[in-house]
């Protein structure tokens, strides 16, 4: 700041006026950008905000134009109706169990495989890693029908285990951990531990895992949301009302003829509010994880 004022004292009045004009223009540009970004943000959030608002509205208010953001006469009737008509809490419980177990499986398999692929560069390992990478681009939808028959022959349809079968490994997770192992765990550290007589398992659990905490956290959040929002696989694996995940339960509930908007909104809000809260809390982890997907090249 002092540097700038010093320079300004040597400038002519004309140049000074020019500087003021430029700064004002910059401020105006920033204001315009803020207005643009603010309207984009509001537009992005509006559908969800209105949905949550609808959940607390009476049928009459839901039809009002313009739609109200804060219900004039808030009611919990919609929630009561939904909870008595559907096993909503059961569905949420199924989804949570599925997502937590899938997260644990993905974090465990990715941590081990990522470490081995990152630090044990034997020819065999490189071939295996290429295999993992090559199948990463195959969408789940391509092979889920044969996988369904595998689940069927294991007798785990309509259970959390059946859901889990499709979400045990994540190629991207292995890739992410491998990148982190290569960049943040120096070979010298591992060699030093080996010279001190540490076993390979001890090294993995006591040295490698603690160093990977950040990356594993990001991966865990990604894995959790991936399972939480899964749709096609739960749709074919679960066919009994008590085994639905929340996504399947809601999707089938909304096809009913007698279902009104208030109850649908209430059911949706029950799912949305906790997942949005969870996301806001874990945002940094999530952004870190997703952002690293774009760094492949």
């Amino acid at each position: 700041m002092t540097f700038e004022t010093m320079r300004h004292t040597e400038q002519t009045a004309e140049e000074l006026a020019e500087g003021v004009r430029l700064r004002r223009r910059k401020k105006l540009t920033n204001l315009a950008i803020d207005i643009f970004l603010l309207s984009v943000s509001v537009l992005m959030l509006l559908p969800l905000v209105l949905l949550v608002a609808n959940a607390f509205k009476t049928p009459a208010e839901m039809l009002a134009w313009p739609p109200t953001i804060v219900p004039g006469d808030p009611t919990l009737d919609n929630f009561k109706a939904v909870l008595s008509e559907t096993p909503l809490l059961r569905w949420i419980g199924n989804s949570i169990a599925f997502a937590v177990m899938s997260t644990i499986a993905i974090v465990a398999t990715s941590a081990i495989a990522g470490y081995v692929f990152g630090k044990f560069r034997f020819a065999t390992m490189n071939v295996l890693f290429a295999l993992f990478l090559a199948t990463a681009i195959v969408p789940f939808e391509v092979y889920m029908i044969p996988l369904y028959f595998q689940a069927k022959s294991l007798g785990i349809l309509n259970s959390v285990w059946g859901l889990l079968l499709g979400y045990l490994v994540m190629s991207f997770g292995i890739f992410l951990i491998r990148q982190n192992v290569i960049h943040s765990i120096p070979d010298e550290l591992l060699e030093a531990a080996r010279i001190d007589g540490a076993g390979e398992f001890w090294i993995f659990f006591r040295i490698v895992l603690p160093l990977l905490r950040g990356a594993l956290g990001a991966l865990a959040v990604l894995a959790f949301f991936q399972a939480w929002t899964a749709f096609a696989w739960p749709m074919i694996v679960t066919t009994t009302r008590s085994s639905y995940t929340i996504e399947v339960g809601l999707a089938l509930f909304q096809t009913g003829f007698t279902v009104d908007l208030g109850r649908l909104s209430a059911a949706s809000a029950t799912v949305l509010i906790p997942s949005i809260l969870l996301f806001v809390i874990l945002r940094r982890n999530f952004v870190q994880g997703v952002a690293s997907t774009g760094l492949k090249e």
Partner: protein, 295 residues
């Protein structure tokens, strides 16, 4: 000796993951390819090999072709809407990185990407609803005739594109934002000294330099567009209330063939078509990246 011991550990450590991976990924992928060449009706015991007959039948299957066309339109529609918007929003966000509101903007744009698909689709179903929805109420308010959004064959495809773009936007913005942060600052300073305005350096510097990111985001968006299912399932129920029938998409057609018509081999051949499309898109991305590297 030591090397041998380490190799032994590596094999031992990778084995469980590899076994799971082979069982839940490699085997079903191979099985999809194999089944696509067979005629398999779930109920019957024998499974005759019929070569490429399934694929030949697909060429004349109106439901499948319908699904393929709809899915392609949706995938490219989402791409065309998402990429330019994401680039502009990311540029603006990058410009305002240091503002106190940056965190809020980022979260707001990203939330639709992470919330559960079905509740989010439900919000849009209400918005587009012909009788109860605010969109028609708004149109009526400003004097435009109301539309039957979710039951008109063309409009309902547009509705699905809007919903998918709304969800895809946050991801694309985030990846672009990483791209902007990795661009060399010096170049922009040089451009500024030469008198380039903000929009000018966006057009002549950012867009060409972000080409690898654009390629990547485009392929990811297209691939997830070709896998669209939940959005069509919720938004596009037909007049009888059958979910997803109004706008038939590939995954829906595949699942119906497999679980409603019990034609698993035929459904597998549809899955192979989906795989070929995805592989093709990925190959295009890689070859375009390599071309860039050469020049």
């Amino acid at each position: 000796m030591l090397k041998r011991k380490r190799f032994f550990f590596a094999i031992l450590a990778i084995l469980p993951t590899l076994a799971i991976f082979a069982y839940v990924r490699l085997y079903p992928i191979a099985d999809t390819l194999r089944l696509s060449l067979f005629q398999w009706n779930i109920l019957s015991k024998n499974k005759p090999f019929i070569g490429l007959a399934n694929f030949r039948e697909l060429l004349g299957d109106h439901l499948f072709l319908d699904a393929l066309i709809n899915t392609t339109i949706i995938a490219f529609g989402v791409l065309v809407l998402t990429i330019p918007m994401a680039m502009i929003i990311a540029a603006m966000l990058f410009h305002r990185t240091r503002s106190r509101m940056a965190g809020f903007y980022e979260t707001a744009v990203f939330i639709p990407h992470v919330v559960s698909l079905v509740p989010a689709a439900m919000a849009w179903k209400w918005i587009f609803d012909a009788r109860l929805g605010p969109l028609n109420a708004l149109l009526d308010f400003i004097g435009i005739p109301m539309q039957n959004w979710l039951f008109d064959p063309v409009l309902s495809v547009i509705c699905i594109i809007v919903l998918c773009s709304w969800q895809a936007l946050g991801y694309a913005v985030l990846i672009y934002l990483v791209g902007f942060k990795n661009l060399p600052v010096s170049l922009y300073e040089a451009a500024k000294l030469d008198g380039a305005s903000g929009p000018q350096s966006f057009w002549h510097l950012s867009i060409p330099m972000l080409k690898p990111i654009t390629l990547y985001v485009s392929v990811v968006t297209l691939v997830s567009g070709f896998n669209v299912y939940a959005q069509a399932f919720v938004l596009a129920s037909d007049a009888q209330g059958a979910p997803g029938r109004q706008v038939r998409v590939l995954v829906l057609d595949m699942l119906e063939n497999s679980f409603r018509n019990y034609r698993v081999g035929y459904a597998a051949s549809e899955a192979v078509v989906l795989l070929v499309i995805v592989l093709g898109l990925t190959l295009i991305q890689f070859s375009m990246l390599r071309e860039r590297g050469k020049s």
